[in-house]
Amino acid sequence: MNTLPITEADLHAFVDGKLPAARRLEVDAYLAQRPEEAERLRAYTAQNDELRALFNPVLDEAVPERLSAARPRQWQWQRLVAGLAIALFSGTTGWLLHGQQAGEIQYAQGDSMQARPALYVAGLAHQAAIAHVVYSPDVKRPVEIGADQEEQLVAWLSKRLGTAIRPPRLGKLGYELIGGRLLPGAQGAVAQFMYHDATGQRLTLYVSTDQAHNKDTGFRFAQEGPVNVFYWIDGKFGYALSAGINKAELARVATAVYDQLEKPS
């Protein structure tokens, strides 16, 4: 019988079950003579199986609404917004706060928030969420300066950020200050204050001072993986409050933070 030589492509097709039955038999015969090659192909087959084991569970996950409800958007306009806005909009889950009326806060589903700037823009909420995820699980050293040295913390961060800044008090809501740290932001230094409640649930407030170009002052919500983030811009300050707690609870804390920053005691 005259058979074509077995190629590397045949071997891969063998692994992937893409060979016609006759060719498959020929490869079987070929491998029977070459245990090392057979071993190599077994490893490749195992890779296929393991990749499926690793990622097939994603198929059974509920599809996030932002994906099933996604709609076409206008790309030209989209790009323009992406260039101008640093903060990430949060698609259909975006919440808009009209916080101008003192003491009263209204939420409205933001229809104009359907569009979201390019995803890979390193927005305030995104950076805050990353910083939260990186530092909040740290058991030994979640902060650089602890709350026991609050005066020192305030003086240091104010000096480094070039503006007076102090952590809001959230004790009434059950969150005590752990301390703070300085982080690199897009344009310069950024402060992160960390709080925890009695159960150990951690919450971080990310304060950036380079948002003067950002005219988008709405109060917004974003979900970054397991982390929920409320964020807003106030003058040159950008604030983002991050925690792995539900939106309503986080909104309550964000409201308190906003109030204290608006009306410094």
């Binding site: 190629t7 590397e8 492509a9 891969h12 097709a13 692994v15 992937d16 893409k18 190599r40 490893a43 490749y44 890779q47 296929n48 393991e50 990749l51 499926r52 084991a53 690793l54 990622f55 097939n56 569970p57 994603v58 198929l59 996950e61 599809v63 996030p64 932002r66 994906l67 099933s68 996604a70 709609r71 076409p72 958007r73 790309w75 698609g91 979201r116 390019a118 995803l119 890979y120 823009v121 390193a122 995104h126 950076q127 990353i130 995820v133 990186v134 979900q223 970054e224 993986g225 397991p226």
Partner: protein
């Protein structure tokens, strides 16, 4: 025959699985899927009914990834990888092995990773992979070969020596 809207929606879980494997973190992967779906809706009119919508959507996703790579890199990517590649619950029996797999997959260049994933997860034919990625079939085969051998070397804890095979 389901209409094109339903077909597009039906593709989302597969797009998510692939994107998760390609990108690594959940939020970044879903962002990519969302961009893909939005662009897909916008171009639905240009999709040729009867052709493989799945391949069409994977093409869109591939092009988005290329656009993304051309943009200035975002300094958060490395952290993203650490943050949220949540292993599926229930996979803990061979959890360590799967984690090695995940690490080895991350170590591949993306041009190899995408081919391995289209073949292993999507079970696409090599011709479809070539069409989806707009590259010659020979390139598909050589990248697939390198990807698999590199993964194997990585899983066995030895260095990959390239190139091992000449592909015809």
């Amino acid at each position: 025959m389901p209409n094109s809207r339903d077909q597009l929606l039906a593709c989302i879980p597969r797009l998510r699985r692939y994107a998760r494997a390609l990108v690594g973190d959940r939020a970044g992967a879903d962002d990519l899927v969302q961009d893909t779906v939005e662009r897909g809706w916008g171009r639905l009119a240009s999709w040729e009914g009867g052709s493989d919508m799945r391949a069409w959507l994977f093409s869109i996703m591939h092009n988005l990834r290329i656009d993304q790579a051309r943009r200035p890199s975002v300094p958060t990517e490395a952290l993203n990888e650490e943050t949220s590649m949540a292993l599926a619950p229930g996979s803990s029996s061979s959890g360590l092995e799967l984690r090695d797999m995940e690490t080895a997959l991350r170590a591949l260049p993306e041009e190899q990773r995408e081919i391995l994933l289209l073949v292993a997860l999507e079970e696409m034919s090599y011709d479809d992979v070539a069409q989806t990625l707009k590259i010659p079939i020979g390139t598909v085969m050589s990248r697939l070969s390198r990807a698999r051998e590199k993964m194997r070397a990585n899983m066995e804890g030895r260095a990959y020596i390239a190139p091992l095979k000449v592909v015809k």
